[in-house]
Subunit: 464 residues, 2 copies
Amino acid sequence: MEKLSVWAARQAEAIGKQATLQGWVRTRRDSKGGFSFIELNDGSCLANIQIVADAQLPNYEAEIKHLSAGCSITVHGEVKPSGGKEQATELLASEVIVHGLADPDDYPLQKKRHTLEKLREWAHLRPRTNTMGAVMRVRNRICRSIHDFFQEEGFLYVHTPIITASDCEGAGEMFRVSTIDPANPPKTADGKVDYAQDFFGKPAFLTVSGQLEGEIYATALGKIYTFGPTFRAENSNTSRHLAEFWMVEPEAAFFDLYDDMALAERFLKRIVNDVLADCQEDMAFFQERIDNTIMAALETVRDRDFLRLSYTEAVEILEKSGEKFEYPVKWGSDLQAEHERYLTEKKFNAPVILYDYPRGIKAFYMRVNDDGKTVRAMDVLVPRVGEIIGGSQREERLDVLIERMKEQDLNPDDYWWYLDLRRFGTVPHAGFGLGLERIVQFVTGMANIRDVIPFPRTPGSAEF
Amino acid sequence: MEKLSVWAARQAEAIGKQATLQGWVRTRRDSKGGFSFIELNDGSCLANIQIVADAQLPNYEAEIKHLSAGCSITVHGEVKPSGGKEQATELLASEVIVHGLADPDDYPLQKKRHTLEKLREWAHLRPRTNTMGAVMRVRNRICRSIHDFFQEEGFLYVHTPIITASDCEGAGEMFRVSTIDPANPPKTADGKVDYAQDFFGKPAFLTVSGQLEGEIYATALGKIYTFGPTFRAENSNTSRHLAEFWMVEPEAAFFDLYDDMALAERFLKRIVNDVLADCQEDMAFFQERIDNTIMAALETVRDRDFLRLSYTEAVEILEKSGEKFEYPVKWGSDLQAEHERYLTEKKFNAPVILYDYPRGIKAFYMRVNDDGKTVRAMDVLVPRVGEIIGGSQREERLDVLIERMKEQDLNPDDYWWYLDLRRFGTVPHAGFGLGLERIVQFVTGMANIRDVIPFPRTPGSAEF
């Protein structure tokens, strides 16, 4: 018999097929007419398929009547048209093989709904819930779109390092990576920890961004992107922070800031288009159960041109808005989430790309404009979440870059290889970063970032 | 003018186009006829395009005649048919804009060839060489095939954790991840390091494999794969070991070992097919310059059915082979590379999948066969490198699994969540692992694994 996924068996074209389905029981109810109805799920889609099991089946009394949520079964049978309104098909079982039971007295995932907080403690079981299943299918679709988009645009996937002993990391707090035993570290003659005896011969850390290394490959091979884990050792217990998260960072030689903004717009539209086209069932679930504003926000990204607005223009608009903001707006200060959301939601109801930020609030590697006051940074703001992408054209002029490092109390010697990219065949180039979990939150409406990653790492928590 | 990649401009269809090309100079030579010929590369392909720059160009004397290896330029001009044998086209420049010079006295990548060892010290410049460019394009193509293959087979991409405080890791030496200062660690009352005050509240490490966590998602959503970095803190300074490398690990519910072997065969064939179809120029370079046996090995993978052979049969063949092996062959011992290569190269000249290994030499999670002596493990062997994939059907029986843990001196309590997968709705399932760098080595013929990853991490080395 042909193995079918639940998704495939739910399609009308499957009617009449002899098929094998395999998955986990969600519910079972017994009719008085001598049948049991089993809702079966296999992760291929949100919906279950109804299995009709006749009391005449040889293991009906011994096994089938004891099936409960979480039990695993293989069912052979024929796909039939269903009388129900919610599904086109059902499976009339000719054989039900039970692989594993799930004792209702012990199995945590009973019919009653659990809070998302509770489910985090059961990270090994929560993918069996509707919500986490839907999150993971959408997350998968987004990852696929990310690769497809960049590959089709001619970008090479490059793996920048996870562990780094480079002296030019250090933005943000970092995790140390070591094989030294902190109970008994080797010491130098003057009593300090002797990192020369550590695995890498010097202090090493987990990366906070692949950008600088990405620039190495962009200024050799043209267009590249990274997509890998990045880390922050910040003690932030919020719904928006993780100690370990996945980041996408494209970088392209001969791109200026306008090319960069256009790339970011095409990229976000592509992700949203793909999810809306391919994850309709899961998205309907999020819209109905999680947040009924998400579809409107996604359609805005899909359908509206992204506005371009300089930081200076944005500050003027905010100053004239008459809104009462918690944080005052002042040229030279960073914008707060409330300001960003006012612009993208209330003022324009469209995605907005802000660019040309004051040099004082942005990183040393962003290209200084001719006005001397602003740099070629850009942030993409979307309704409901505010900033979702941050990027810039990079400073390609050796002298200006060194000046900017000194301005920010960085030692150019630590950046010798980054400066070499400007010493030898320097080119205009640009890139941006997108946090995977942020876009999954935006698309699904999930309020807590811990619920959009399989195994969240946060202060005090790295189980599983 | 239309921006064209060097690859696009080299196609005959580009002839007659007004185009803009951007990239880096490989060489320049000046003819007596009042022209300079510039070989331009932009990373889009191995080959350069020839730029013909007329001495009449306004910056000819001041700039163009000073161009050297590594300089970056933008060229506007017309694509013309080329008189040369090696290319169909060339670009007649109407304008040459110089972005950055590369002083020949300082720029390390001069015309003379550098050893791969030397290039590792210049990890920020080596992607500008022919060899590393070719490696990275092939590596990218393999990564794309990996995602395409699993997505098309209905597998969900799942990110298993990089940092883990789970007690059931610990195969192999691990890197500690910590925010504790080893110079001054917090101590408990009895003088031990107080990991309760560390970031995660207990000791945490870098993952050595996503398999166990992958099983969580497979036994909920059916078919999944991981593709992420993994780590080994082993002090191995060899051409086959890295401290940080990328691994692909599919896991599928309701798969037995035969399904797993078939999946691995389809997977390897897909990668090899895609590379042979899409990377012809780079592959010709590897065949000619790196190792002239690679194409034959790749064609074997593409064209031959993979043989299936039990470990027991393999041992019999080896014992009867009459070969003088360095290590003796004996049922119950692991096979060595020399044995594997004899089978796949000399004996069969085909990829070989060995399966059903002695339980004593394999991991606790592999399913015990009815003979009680062997487990459902499999290794895929290919010519030239030997083992390239290792996998197994997993033990889904709770009692047998606990017995196997005890047999290997593991504490079942540490594996509470892994055992829960067997307590609640257990299913037959299987998976395997492929090291990305190993397959890149196999495909490109590069002898040292440090030359197939952008930034190799090895004992004493985590620069950049």
